[in-house]
Symmetry: D2
Subunit: 304 residues, 4 copies
C-alpha cells in the first residue's frame, strides 16, 4: 500500500500547527538542538520506506534505546529477567524512587529508569566488555555498521546524572544490582547516548513488527513470543505517564525518548519513527504525539 500520501498530508497538517512544548534542557547537548526539526519515516515489512521532513537527520534516541537493551537481555536470559524486575505499569514518573522503596528495589518495568538500570547491570554480568557488547548488538539490530556512542551526550548525562546515581545506589541497597554502581550507570549513560535518524530508527524497530525477525534479512533478533511481549510492555509502559494516552489516541505499541524521538509499530506491517524535539508536559514529543494520532486516525491502523 502506498502510505506516502497520508504521511505527507499528516506531516503538513502537524507542521501547520503551533510547535508547542519545550526542548529537554537538563543536558546542554539536548538543549542546543534545532527545535524546528521534524522528521518521519515509515518502513514496512515489504521493504517500502515512506519519509517526510528531516528523516535522515541524526538525533539522540535516549530512552528509546531501552527497548534494545531489553531485547538483548531477553534474548539472552529469557524469563529469568523477571526475577529482577516486574512488567507492570508504574503509575508514577519515569525516574521515581517511591515505588522502589515499598517494593524492595524491584523496578516496575524495564522501560522506566530503574528497570533500565537493572537491565544494564545484567548486561554487565553477561559480558566482559558490556559497552562493546551492547554497541555490537545495536549495530547488528539497526544494520548501522559504524554506529558509535555519542561521547558528548554520555559525558553530559554522567555529569548531571544524580537522580540515576541515586536510583542505582538505592536499588543496590536492596541487593538488586550486582556490579558497582559506577559500572552500571556508565553503561546506562552510554545506552542513552545512541543517535539514529528516523529512517534508521524505523528500520531498527522493524523486528518487533515482524515477529522478532529483522526486516529485509529475516534474521531472528528475538523469538515471536518475545517480540509479542516486548510490544506488550511498550504498550503498557512505553510512554511515561502517557501510556494510557498513547494507547487511547494512537493505539499502537511504541516508545518515546526525551530527545523528541518516538517510534511505534503495527505488528505484521510496519514500524514508524517520528522526531521533533519539543516535548509536552509528560516528556513526549509534542509533534510526535500529534503526528501519530492523526496518522492512525487516518489509516485506522491500531492493534485494538
Amino acid at each position: 500500500m502506498d502510505c506516502q500520501p497520508i504521511v505527507d498530508k499528516t506531516y503538513k497538517k502537524v507542521l501547520a500547527m503551533e510547535n508547542s512544548g519545550n526542548v529537554a534542557s537538563y543536558i546542554p547537548e539536548l538543549a542546543k538542538v534545532d527545535d524546528t526539526k521534524f522528521g518521519v519515516c515509515l518502513t514496512t515489512q515489504n521493504g517500502e520506506v515512506f519519509t517526510a521532513g528531516d528523516a535522515t537527520v541524526k538525533f539522540s534516541i535516549q530512552s528509546i534505546a531501552k527497548v534494545l537493551s531489553l531485547s538483548l537481555v531477553l534474548s539472552k536470559i529469557g524469563d529469568d529477567l523477571w526475577k529482577r524486575m516486574d512488567f507492570e505499569p508504574s503509575g508514577t514518573a519515569f525516574n521515581s524512587l517511591v515505588q522502589l522503596e515499598s517494593e524492595n528495589g524491584i523496578p516496575r518495568n524495564p522501560l522506566i529508569n530503574a528497570g533500565a538500570i537493572v537491565v544494564c547491570d545484567i548486561i554487565c554480568e553477561l559480558f566482559d566488555n558490556p559497552k562493546k557488547a551492547l554497541l555490537d548488538y545495536v549495530r547488528e539490530v539497526s544494520g548501522i555498521e559504524d554506529l558509535q556512542y555519542s561521547e558528548n551526550i554520555a559525558h553530559s548525562e554522567q555529569q548531571t546524572g544524580y537522580r540515576n546515581f541515586a536510583l542505582a545506589n538505592f536499588i543496590k541497597s536492596f541487593n538488586n544490582i550486582k556490579n558497582t554502581c559506577d559500572q552500571v550507570t556508565d553503561l546506562y549513560f552510554y545506552l542513552c547516548s545512541i543517535e539514529m535518524t528516523c529512517e534508521q530508527l524505523s528500520y531498527t524497530f522493524g523486528f518487533l513488527a515482524n515477529r522478532g525477525k529483522q526486516f529485509n534479512t529475516g534474521k531472528t533478533i528475538v523469538t515471536p513470543n518475545q517480540a509479542k511481549r516486548i510490544n506488550a510492555i511498550m504498550q503498557t509502559c512505553g510512554f511515561y505517564d502517557e501510556a494510557g494516552e498513547f494507547a487511547y489516541k494512537v493505539g499502537l505499541p511504541g516508545k518515546s525518548g526525551v530527545g523528541g524521538g518516538m517510534v511505534a509499530i503495527l505488528p505484521g506491517s510496519y514500524a514508524i519513527a517520528v522526531w521533533s524535539p519539543k516535548l509536552n508536559k509528560q516528556g513526549n514529543s509534542y509533534r510526535g504525539m500529534k503526528f501519530l494520532q492523526y496518522f492512525t486516525d487516518e489509516t485506522q491502523d491500531t492493534v485494538f
Copy 2:
C-alpha cells in the same frame, strides 16, 4: 476457523492442573459459589460459538460490568468524560484511595472503583431513572431481554461497601461527584450485581471486537474510535495489578471481575469469556488466566 479443538484441548489442560487460589469472600453471595465451576465461550464475528464446560451457568460478572457503564457514558458524552477522570494505569490496588488524594479526586481510569463510581455519577446526571437506564442499556448490548440486577448481591455489596462509600465521599470532597453519595453508590452496587453466562458475556463484548457494532445485528453500540479506545483502556487498566502480566502473557485487551469471570477480545475476530471462581493473589481468576494464556499461545492470537 474451527476453534473447538483448541478450546477443548486447552480446557482439558487447565482442568487437569491444580485449581489454586481462593473464592472472593467479602460478601456471602460470592463465597457460596461452587468453586469447581469452569466455563468457556468464544463467539466470533461470523456468529460461530465454541464452548467448553459450564458455559451456560450464570455468574456474577462484577467489575466486568464497568466496561459497559463506560461504553454507555462514552456513547452519550464522548470525550467530555475525560474532564472527570483520566485513562492512565494506576499502578496501585483497584480500591486504593492514595492517588485520589494527590490527584484531587480525579480517578486514574474508569475501570478502577473510583473511576467507575464517577461514571455512575454521570449516569445519575444523564437519566431520570439511572438504574433502569443502565439495565435497559445492558439488556440492549447483551441481547438478554429479561436481564435483572441481582438484588441479593447488590444488597450484600451495600452492607459491606465501606471502602466504596469512602471512595465516593472522598471524591465528593473534591467536588467530582454531583449527586448524593448514596444515589451514586446505590447504582454502583447494582452495576456490580449483574449476572451472565460465559455465552452471554462473550456475545455482549462482541461489539468491542467488531469496531463498535453488535455481533449478528450489526447495531452500532459505540463508534469505531470509541471501540478502539475502550480496548486500549482494557489493555492498560483491565486487570488490576496484573494489567502488564495480562498484556505480556495473553496479549489481548480484556477485563476481569472478582466473581472469577474474565473476558478478552481479538479485534476483528472474536470475544472470549472464561469463568472459574478461584482467584489468584491479584484478584483475577486463576484458571481464567491460565486458560487465556495457553489458548493464545496455541492460536498465536495477540494484538501485538
Copy 3:
C-alpha cells in the same frame, strides 16, 4: 508572678503587625466570624487570670476539643486506647487518608481527624447516650454548667463533611469502627462544634498543667501519668503540619483549631489560650502563633 505586663506588651506587639492569613471558610458559620477578633487569657495554677482583648468572646474551638475527647476516653479505658490507634506524629495533613491505607485503618494519633473519629467510636461504645455523656464531661472539665453544642456549626459540618465520612467509612472497612459511621460522625461533628471563650478555654486546659487535677477545685480529671502523656501527644501531634514549628518556636505542648483558637500549657504553672480567626497556610491561627512565640521568648517559658 504578674504576667499582665508581658501579656499586654505582647498583645500590642502582635496587634500592631499585619493580620495575615485567611479565615476558615469550608462552613459558613466559620466564614462569617469577625476576623479582627483577638483575645488572650492566661490562667495560673494559683488562680490568677491575665487577659487581653476579646478574652470573653465565644468562638468555635473546633479540633481543640479533640484533647477533651481523648482525655475522656483515656480516663475510662486507659492504655487499651492504643490497641485502636497509635501516638506517633503523622507527617501528613490532618485529614489525610494515605497513611490509613498502608497502616490498615489504625490512625497515627488521636488528634488527627482519623484518630478523633475512632475516639468518638469508643465513646459511642462506652455510653448509651454518647452525645450527652461527652457534653456532661466537657461541662465538668470546663466548669461551664450551661455549655451547649452549637447546633448550627454541627449541622454545617455534617452538610459538607465528605472527607470525614470518607475517613469513617475507610476506617470501618478495616474494622476499626464498631458503630455505624453515621453515629460516629454525628458525635464527631458535635464534638467539633463546642464553643468557649479564651477565659474558659485556658481554665479548661488547666488540668493538663496541674498533673491531671482541675485548677481551683483540685478535682482529678486524669492521672498524673495520663496528663503527662496527653501533653506529650499535644507536643508531637497538636499542630497539624506545624508540630515541629510550634515545638521549635514556642516550646510548649498545645493544640490548635481551625476556628483560630490555640491553647498551650506550661506544666506546673499555667494554661494560656489565644484566639484570632485568620489562619496561616498550615491551618493554625496566624496571630496565635505569633503571640505565643513572642510571649514565650519574653518569659523564657518552655518545657525544653
Copy 4:
C-alpha cells in the same frame, strides 16, 4: 539529690528482664559487639555523676552524633539552616526517600539521614577541612581531647552505604547539596563513627540541659534559644518511628543510635546516657527504652 539508688534499682530491674531484640548487623563492626553490655550514666548540672554497669565502655554513638553536627551548624549559621531543611517529624523511616521526592529534596528534619547529610554538606561549605573541624568541635563539646573517629566503622559504613549514597545523590538532583556527594557522604560516615562511653556521652549532652552552656566549664556551646530548639527537635524527631512513643513513655527530649546508645536530657537538671546493643523493631535500644521509661516513672521527671 542522690539519684544513685533509683539508677541502681532501675538498672537491676531491667537487667532481670529478658534482653530482647537484635544487634544492628548491617556493618560487621556493629554486629560483633558484646550484646550483654549494659551501661548507664546520669550527669547533673551540679557536677554529680551516677553510673551503673558498663558506663565506662566505649561504643559507637552512631546517629546520636547528628545532634552535635546540628549544634555545630546552628551555632555557625543560625536559622539560615532552615532554608535547607525543615524541622517537622517525618512520619516515615529514618532512611526513607519517599518524602524527599514530593518535597523537592528538602529533608524533614536534621536528625533523619537525609537531613544529617545536608548538615554535613553545610559543614563542608563552612570549613576548609571539614572532617578536622567537626572532630575539633566534638572534642571541645565532649571535653575528650584525644577523641578520634573510628576508621574501622567509617570504612565499613562507606562500603555498604548505598542507601546513604542514594540519599545524597537524590538530594543533589534537587540541588540541595553543594559539594560532591563523595565529600559529603565521607564526612557523614565519619560523623557516625564517633565512639563514646555513657559517662562521656551524658557529659557531652549536658549543654542541652543547661541552656546551651557546658557543664562544669559554663562555656557557651549554643545560645539558650538554640538549646531550647535542639531539644524541641529531639523531642519531635529524635527516635525514628518512636518519637511519639518516647515522648509518651519517657517524656524527655533525647536521641538514639543504632549502636544501642540513647541519651535524654531534663532541662535545667541533667543528661542521662544508656547503652545496650540489642535494638527493638523500631531500631532503638530495647533496654535503653525500658530503663528510661522505668527511671522517669520512678523519678516523675518529665518535661510535660
